[in-house]
């Protein structure tokens, strides 16, 4: 059995990548492999925006990722710099801005530095980017 690091760099609405990554992760877990974690970078960070509101008949990826990560206990890490550039702020960012309630990056997503990606790559047998 192998361990995977999943990297998502594509925007949820501008690419199928975020959905493909979800299906790959699901299939890997079902086959008995483990997921070291998912790292969201570039436009991929847009998936972590908790304000996303799809119409009722549209595919909503945010709750799907939350559910999968909580069920199988793997981290959803979001690059803090890439997220801030795209208007995605964690509670810590909000506190620093003196507007402690104004954040849209919440658990199970975590705001991290790029160093966390390096750690994940080193702990995983394989990385796959979507």
């Amino acid at each position: 059995m192998a361990s995977f690091c999943i990297i998502v760099t594509s925007s949820p609405l501008e690419s199928q990548g975020c959905y493909s990554a979800y299906r790959f992760t699901q299939a890997a877990l079902e086959a008995g492999h483990s997921i070291t974690g998912v790292f969201f970078y570039q436009s991929g960070v847009e998936l972590a925006n908790s304000f996303q509101t799809m119409l009722s008949d549209e595919l909503a990826m945010y709750p799907k990722w939350c559910e999968l990560a909580q069920k199988h206990v793997f981290p959803l890490q979001v690059c803090v710099t890439a997220a801030n550039r795209r208007g995605i702020l964690s509670e810590q960012d909000a506190v620093q801005n003196d507007t402690p309630n104004l954040f849209n990056l919440d658990a199970p997503f975590e705001s991290v530095g790029i160093g966390e990606l390096v750690s994940m790559l080193n702990e995983s047998d394989r990385s796959i980017q979507f």
Partner: protein, 119 residues
């Protein structure tokens, strides 16, 4: 420590891929990762030494390429075919680098444990 190849595929101004590639290169290198940087397809336009992104109030992030050597990032590979197709020559490039044929490019990529593309 595993080795990491970072492949640039986009020009410098159209999107944020170039800046976020530099962020990734410098952070990975400072965490001791063995990093190689590749410029292929439109990514080679990031290397053009005549660019003046200030003209459009954009940050000249390509100036950070000069910092790569201080982070021990010495493997900077450029796709020869991509340069030729775009009418560019080595003398027009802003960083010291190795030009690779398509076969050599594949051989270098085979050496890296992980590969991330930025486009």
């Amino acid at each position: 420590m595993k080795s990491l190849a970072i492949i640039n595929q986009s020009g410098p101004i159209t999107n944020n891929a170039g800046q976020e590639s530099v962020d990734l290169v410098l952070a990975s290198a400072s965490f001791g990762q063995d990093v190689s940087v590749f410029f292929v397809d439109d990514g080679v336009f990031q290397l053009l030494n005549t660019q003046k992104p200030e003209e459009l109030a954009h940050k000249h992030f390509a100036k950070s390429f000069g910092a790569f050597e201080f982070y021990d990032v010495e493997n900077i590979f450029v796709c020869k075919e991509s340069l030729q197709k775009r009418g560019l020559e080595k003398a027009q490039l802003n960083v010291s680098c190795q030009l690779l044929t398509q076969t050599e490019l594949n051989a270098q990529l085979q050496k890296s444990d992980n590969i991330i593309t930025l486009s």
